[in-house]
């Protein structure tokens, strides 16, 4: 019988090194995940086909990165999180805590986020911010809209997938969540088309992890809706942090649990403030050009 080659490194340094190595391992697993691969390919395909058609409003092409990188990314990270559940009797007695493993899973969201960055750059190449398809918004606000519609969903969707994977037993929970969010965004968008000046409808439209800010509504005129894209990003980022905290809450005990719950309370208040500011900021009425 041979002996072990080297003892594992002890202490805090080991925790950091292990976390980095574990996050890298989980990223490789995500990249090899067929759902995520499909998401990346479909995003690229949607952007490629977007340059070949005449775009009259930006919203006809920019939801695809959110659907694929955010929605499919959520399903992929949900699967990734749940995949080790059966091995919990073994993994739960290793030096790496459940919280550390959850944090490593959250770190994999940087992969779809990086894909989102590439998608945003490609999008700006195809549809420069000076194009009239962005509606009445200023150039910085147009960048904010794209960041809120491409970048943040690519980060938030996968984080939500990790949180669902940690808490939900139902194997189809991520798919159900995807359909619910998709349905809700479509519902409130339809309401916004029929009631473009309504403040409650604007609030409902922004009460989602993804929102449209312009629409042609079947006419040749482009309508720019109410709402502040900058504060909407604040709301989205608050939701991302809430997803991470909810995921980390699973398995946390003692002081760590108390700290997470405290942070969760702060982020919930922040999210509400951001939503209110997003709904009350920006244009006070729909602008049609």
């Amino acid at each position: 019988m041979t002996t072990a080659l080297a003892p594992p490194p002890p202490g805090a340094a080991a925790i950091r090194t292990t976390f980095t190595a574990l996050a890298a391992r989980e990223m490789r697993r995500l990249i090899a995940n067929p759902v995520f691969l499909a998401a990346a390919v479909l995003t690229a395909y949607a952007l490629w086909t977007g340059q070949r058609i005449t775009v009259t409003e930006i919203d006809s092409v920019n939801p695809f990165p959110a659907i694929f990188l955010g929605g499919f990314g959520m399903i992929a990270t949900f699967w990734l999180t749940r995949s080790m559940r059966a091995s919990e009797p073994v993994t739960s007695v290793t030096p790496v805590t459940l919280s550390a493993r959850t944090a490593a899973l959250c770190a994999v969201a940087t992969v779809p986020f990086a894909c989102g960055c590439l998608a945003l750059l490609a999008f700006l190449q195809l549809h420069p911010v000076g194009d009239p398809v962005y509606g009445a918004f200023s150039h910085p606000a147009r960048i904010a809209i794209l960041a809120g519609q491409i970048l943040v969903p690519a980060l938030g969707g996968p984080l939500l997938g990790v949180a669902l994977g940690r808490w939900m037993r139902f194997p189809g929970a991520a798919l159900v969540m995807f359909l619910v969010l998709f349905g809700w965004v479509n519902l409130v968008t339809a309401l916004s088309i029929s009631h473009p000046d309504s403040a409650p409808v604007a609030a409902a439209r922004l009460f989602a992890p993804f929102a449209f800010f312009t629409c042609t509504g079947g006419t040749s005129h482009l309508t720019t809706w109410r709402g502040s894209p900058w504060f909407f990003i604040g709301w989205q980022l608050a939701l991302c942090v809430i997803a991470v905290l909810v995921a980390l809450l699973r398995g946390a005990a003692g002081q760590a649990r108390a700290r997470i719950i405290h942070a969760l309370g702060i982020m919930l208040v922040t999210a509400v403030i951001m939503l209110v500011l997003a709904a009350t900021g920006g244009f006070m009425h729909a602008v049609t050009a």
Binding site: A6, P8, T18, R85, S87, V93, T94
Partner: protein, 292 residues
């Protein structure tokens, strides 16, 4: 570092069910076998030793560390190998990938050393050539050996094995005994099993649990000696025997709580001694079943 495990009046309850009560044990390097009927509390005891559970009563110390203190619990886990009764495997993982993943969780962060260690433990359980095979495509015995391989990572000072030989073929069981005997030179090995022959072949010490309490704690040879003169062969089942069964030769093996004179006595086995200790009552007691 204190190379021992100590339990003082340790108990564990699950709601209203008492799984363990007043367990006092001191475990040193060597192999200790854990025997007992279903629901006796063996798995609960092993989960306590593996820090998967905390005691609800008494004090547990592993290698001089308290598992109830988070930092000390982590230190224990760095020196622990644990094979649970049931291990599920993630879909799509090969044997190598699974053990490698667990090695990473055991802080083997340097890939060359980790991969070499994974290959070493897969070799110990006789899976050298099957590292690239998907676990889902493996037999039950092979899966069990994959699960065992992860427990052997780093030759841990404390090795907790819950029914390690389940589904493993006789040749591999012999190999397993050799591996565990080697590890037990320096490590505390505790294994739970229903196979008394494994305990007899491997363990110096045996602990018998019944209804959450320790019924026997001592040398295997001493337990077997208690059955001397109480086991005999006969052509018919003896009505005075506590247990009797027909053997492969067609004769009946009788085990009695009382020494029987003028009979064809045979060498008692650990199983005979265990049955005697249990009052000659091998029957299952579902009311005491604890699955948590």
């Amino acid at each position: 570092m204190n190379a021992s495990i100590s339990l003082r009046e340790v108990g564990r309850t699950f709601g209203a069910t008492r799984a363990l009560a007043d367990v006092d044990l001191d475990l040193k390097p060597g192999v200790t076998g854990l025997l007992g009927p279903n629901g006796a509390g063996k798995t609960t005891l092993l989960r306590l030793l593996a820090t998967a559970l905390l005691p609800t009563q008494g004090r547990l110390s592993v290698l001089g560390l308290d598992p109830e203190v988070p930092a000390e619990c982590t230190r224990i886990r760095r020196q622990l190998g644990y094979l649970p009764q049931e291990v599920g495997f993630p879909r799509g993982f090969t044997a190598f990938a699974f053990v490698d993943y667990i090695a990473l969780l055991k802080e083997w962060t340097q890939p060359p050393a980790r991969h070499a260690e994974v290959r070493r433990v897969l070799g110990l359980v006789g899976l050298s050539g099957l590292g690239a095979k998907r676990i889902r495509a493996m037999s039950g015995g092979q899966r069990r050996r994959v699960a065992l391989a992860q427990a052997l990572l780093g030759s841990p000072p404390v090795l907790i094995l819950d029914e390690p030989a389940t589904g493993v073929d006789p040749e591999q069981r012999v190999t397993l005994r050799t591996v565990l005997a080697e590890i037990a030179r320096t490590s505390i090995v505790v294994l739970s099993t229903h196979q008394t022959e494994d305990v007899a072949a491997l363990c110096e010490r045996v602990v018998v649990l019944d209804r959450g309490r320790v019924r026997y704690d001592g040398l295997v040879t001493d337990l077997v000696a208690q059955a001397a003169g109480r086991v005999w062969l006969a052509d018919e089942p003896d009505p005075t025997a506590s247990v009797s069964w027909r053997t492969g030769t067609g004769r009946y093996r009788n085990v009695s709580a009382h020494v029987r004179d003028a009979a064809e006595h045979v060498e008692p086995s650990l199983e005979d001694a265990y049955l005697l200790l249990r009052g000659g009552s091998p029957e299952y007691e579902p009311s005491q079943e604890v699955t948590s």
